[in-house]
């Protein structure tokens, strides 16, 4: 319901005389008689109970008035009670009000219709027995299930977010691993002489390794605790964001204020954080333990990969690449093989990073030298002489960038596909709905209203649309019923399977249904299959006449002729009218005329084609808002990684940089060498990240098509995004180098040269 200034609220209209046995209304404030005796509530049909959250946010007190838009126009209701926070009052984010069912049916024009019947089973009846018994009585057109099953349906809707979040978390872990690795490399580099002293005083290799691992444990623990606190805050923001999205798409007023985080989840997160930190610190700790006490007391020893290390790494990389290739070639476009192929490819890319870095820096060296002979050579050499340090940073930035490119590619492809679809399918001039929210389905128009609008002199043609959701193999599928004959004249969607003219003709005759491509893919349905759709008249066995591109619903839509729907559902009401105006009538004029004629007697909302397109773009933007957040994370990772890497590099090369300055290198020249080093990291990360992003995109499209959304998106590399990332990442690299470069040129020459 639209509640005026207070926004949207879900009205739970119940039979107050019987509902007390099902639900606990914990009233904290209100007229006692109303609360205690439902008959008093019933006697005053303007009575309403709201939640404490809603009352507080809107300044409502018990006995106060609240105004709703109803079928009878704006109407005042009296708040007879306020429910305590928690329990039922926390449903729908607290945007919930209780009314008497009969009063609600009257003021909201619902006739004698009910949305659902809640009941409790007898103590000795199991859930399965109860469900089977009730289904037998009510027939196949109704859904019988427990509240937990409804939760599962919601979970199925948010699965796409869940898969995305899992992928992002996996990458965050990997990227975090590289950053921690570099941080410990800094610690080892900076404390090299300290390690040498400890070793020469008799500390064993195990003790040195233990020292760094203990440090990593403590840092991991502290970082995880802080991370969990931030994570809970972030989760709240994300839940609200996703809630808003679900609200837009499914018309549910979801406002999340509480995040459920079980002790088990928190414990696991803590464990994961500590284990990641210790794993990342393992190689630096091992390196520290292998420091030669004599060499450690001197400077200038450079880290290199041993031949054995190189060989093992390459063999492992080739192994993962082979697994990925086998998965790809054996038709691994879905299921475990798709994920195995993807993960193997990621691991192969990470393991090959040191080799790629070396080759690319070798290619860059002549260019750098050409630009600035000394500074360029120093920068390139520094990157090459510390392959582990450089590779760790490059790998972190590369993964982050490839995630951005992959998601950006999905966003680009989605925009293109959705815009194509809206042009082909969303072509009426006006849409007349029951709410300003297009997804709102709880309110319906009588069929007669459509006929009257259709007769107006400004209207050329009108299509009456009725949508419902039904359960199909556990998923909430949208059924769209409209005049297929009218549709065939106006809408030419992209056909995936079947012939458009034939499918329209047969569907208009009620011989089957037309499926959205995403539904067909998700449910593995193909042309000619028989689909069983439950209706109040029994299970309808309908042939799949055609498959078209249709993004009406995330879980997919089935389209049938309105005649078939009315005959089987015994319901001729409508959710929406698609209105085509006569030539020469502008959408604004048509809208004005419809509102003038019907706006006063019926609550209706008229949306122009442009407004609906804007709405679709807004929803798409909301969904891809997560991509932009990912870009931010990529930039942050790049800054952290490059600053870390340069800090280690400067620490390692303190004497070298001092020598350059001693023999005549100006501060500017040393700065330029460090900036070029940063630019080198940025450039190599970009090359690898942009290339890997292209591969990621292939897998993401596969996961979206086959695993989560059934949406077939065309592979188009996001060139614009890649071109934007080049100056952004190079700029970020240079920015990251400012601090380390300054610290390098301001260091004492004498100390660095270790004269004394």
């Amino acid at each position: 319901m639209n509640a005026g200034k207070q926004g949207n609220i879900l009205i739970l209209a119940v039979d107050m005389t019987g509902d007390r046995s099902l639900r606990e209304y914990d009233i904290e404030e209100g007229e006692e008689a109303v609360v205690d005796d439902p008959l008093v509530f019933l006697a005053q049909p303007d009575s309403i109970i709201v939640t404490r959250d809603y009352a507080s946010q809107n300044g409502i007190v018990s006995g106060g008035k609240i105004t709703f838009e109803t079928m009878q126009g704006r109407k005042d209701f009296t708040v007879r009670g306020i429910m305590k926070a928690g329990g039922l009052a926390s449903a729908f984010g607290g945007n919930l009000a209780i009314m008497d069912i009969y009063a609600a049916q009257h003021v909201f024009g619902r006739g004698r219709m009910f949305d659902r019947i809640d009941l409790t089973l007898k103590p000795n009846v199991t859930l399965d027995q109860g469900t089977a018994g009730i289904m037998k009585v009510v027939g196949p057109g109704y859904t019988v299930g427990s509240p937990s099953q409804r939760g599962k349906q919601f979970e199925s809707i948010i699965q796409i977010f869940s898969v995305g979040a899992t992928l992002n978390s996996l990458f965050a872990m990997l990227i975090g691993l590289f950053i921690i690795y570099n941080t410990f490399s800094i610690a080892v580099a900076q404390r090299r002489s300290e390690i040498g002293i400890l070793r020469s005083l008799g500390a064993s290799r195990g003790q040195i390794r233990g020292l760094f691992l203990l440090e990593s444990f403590l840092l991991g623990l502290t970082g995880s605790i802080i991370g969990i606190a931030f994570g809970l805050l972030l989760a709240r923001g994300m839940a609200s964001y996703i809630g808003g999205y679900i609200g837009e798409i499914y018309g549910l007023a979801e406002r999340t204020q509480e995040i459920s985080a079980s002790p088990l989840t928190i414990g696991l997160a803590l464990l994961l954080g500590v284990v990641t930190s210790m794993l990342a610190a393992w190689i630096p700790a091992r390196d520290a333990s292998q420091v030669d006490p004599v060499k450690a007391l001197h400077k200038g020893a450079y880290e290199v990969f041993s031949e054995q290390e190189n060989r093992t790494r390459l063999i492992a990389a080739l192994g993962f690449a082979a697994v990925s290739l086998v998965c790809f070639l054996s038709g691994g476009v879905r299921g475990p093989r798709l994920y195995a192929g993807y993960l193997s490819m990621v691991l192969a890319a990470v393991l090959l990073t040191p080799s790629f870095v070396r080759w690319l820096v070798m290619l860059l060296r002549p260019l750098f030298r050409e630009l600035l002979p000394v500074e360029g050579a120093l920068a390139a050499d520094s990157l090459m002489q510390s392959p582990r340090r450089t590779s760790a940073t490059v790998a972190a930035v590369m993964l982050s960038l490839s995630l951005v490119v992959g998601l950006g590619g999905v966003a680009d492809a989605s925009y293109t596909s959705i815009l194509d679809w809206t042009t082909a399918v969303i072509n009426p001039d006006l849409f007349v709905g029951t709410s300003d929210q297009i997804a709102e389905r709880s309110f319906r128009f009588p069929a007669a209203l459509g006929e009257e609008i259709g007769k107006m002199d400004v209207v050329d043609e009108l299509q009456t649309v009725r949508t419902i959701r039904f359960d199909y193999r556990g998923d909430p599928i949208m059924l769209v019923a409209t005049s297929i004959e009218s549709l065939s004249r106006r809408v030419k969607p992209k056909v995936i399977a079947g012939d458009l003219a034939t499918m329209y003709a047969q569907a208009a005759a009620g011989r089957g249904v037309i499926l959205a491509d995403n539904l067909a893919l998700q449910q593995r349905l193909k042309l000619g299959d028989i689909m069983e759709i439950p209706s109040p008249s029994g299970i309808l066995k309908l042939k799949v006449l055609g498959i078209t591109v249709d993004y009406s619903d995330q879980k997919g839509a089935v389209m049938m002729d309105r005649g078939l729907f009315v005959a089987n559902w015994k319901d001729d009401s409508a959710n929406l009218f698609r209105v085509y105006l006569k030539k020469g009538v502008t959408p604004e004029e048509g809208k004005r005329r419809i509102l003038e004629r019907f706006g006063t007697q019926t609550k209706l909302f008229v949306m122009t084609n442009q407004q609906l397109r804007n709405y679709i773009i807004k929803v798409t933007d909301q969904w891809f808002g997560l991509t932009y957040m990912q870009v931010f994370v990529a930039v942050l990772v790049a800054i952290l990684g490059i600053v870390n890497s340069l800090t280690v590099s400067i620490t390692d090369r303190r004497r070298e940089l001092a020598v350059v300055r001693a023999v005549g290198g100006l501060r500017r020249q040393v700065r330029q060498a460090i900036w070029m080093e940063a630019a080198g990291i940025g450039a190599v990360s970009l090359m690898l990240g942009l290339a890997l992003g292209g591969v990621f995109l292939y897998y993401y499209l596969g996961i979206i098509r086959e695993e989560i959304a059934g949406i077939r998106l065309e592979y188009v590399y996001p060139v614009k995004m890649a071109l934007t990332l080049i100056p952004v990442m190079l700029g970020v690299a240079l920015l990251s180098a400012l601090g380390p470069a300054e610290s390098a040129v301001r260091a004492s020459l004498v100390e660095a040269l270790e004269y004394e």
Partner: protein
């Protein structure tokens, strides 16, 4: 050529340490001077100040009349680049650069063209008898060879002043003698002012002048 007037250098820490205490000194152009003294006597500090690697706490240091304690960091760098050649005990060659690149380094920093830099570097490496090791990396050379590359680098701009900090300290005695001969030879050929900090009595005695430091003060100044 080199003029120090009442130069004091103090290091601040938990306890203030005076490394040089009111030192005044004049080294004329073309003189070869050795500075000796026990560890902590201030000899390396003196070399750092003369080389413009550090600035005095008090007093003035002038090189060719230019007061080093009054110029900016970049000007000090230009003085080091154009007028001073350094030879370090631990060679301080850049490990990733070849012999040719190491010797060319100060020339590139001056902005010379690659061709000109390489021609001069080849000439100098020939002079120190390493003409056949141009593309070798420092790790592929012996200690004596590395020091010869370092000397070639120090001479790359034909500086009027050559500063050497324990140039033979990291070498065996015969290689040390060979390096010292080379420095002396270059000093005579180029007429450069040479200041050598050393612990080695033989090295010290081979110079025409020896200055002994103790507790940051000049306690002996012998001209042979």
């Amino acid at each position: 050529m080199i003029q120090l007037v009442e130069v004091t250098k103090q290091f601040d820490g938990k306890r203030q340490v005076t490394a040089l205490d009111h030192v005044s000194l004049h080294i004329p152009k073309g003189q070869m001077v050795s500075i000796i003294g026990a560890s902590g006597s201030g000899k390396s500090t003196l070399l750092n100040l003369v080389g413009g690697l550090d600035k005095p706490t008090r007093g003035t240091i002038a090189l060719d009349g230019e007061k080093l304690n009054e110029v900016s960091d970049d000007d000090l760098t230009r003085v080091r680049r154009d007028k001073i050649g350094f030879i370090f005990q631990f060679f301080n060659l850049l490990p990733t650069l070849s012999c040719l690149e190491n010797v060319s380094l100060p020339l590139h920093l001056r902005g010379w063209t690659r061709k000109k830099c390489e021609a001069r570097a080849r000439e100098l490496l020939d002079l120190v008898q390493l003409g056949k090791r141009l593309e070798h990396l420092p790790e592929e050379l012996s200690g004596g060879e590395r020091q010869r590359v370092a000397i070639a680098r120090a001479l790359s701009v034909y500086p009027p002043v050559l500063l050497a900090d324990e140039p033979t300290g990291n070498l065996d005695s015969s290689t040390g003698e060979e390096i010292l001969r080379l420095i002396r030879d270059l000093h005579q050929r180029l007429n450069a002012t040479v200041v050598i900090v050393t612990h080695d009595r033989n090295v010290a005695e081979s110079c025409e002048r020896t200055i002994r430091l103790r507790d940051g003060r000049i306690v002996e100044d012998t001209l042979r």
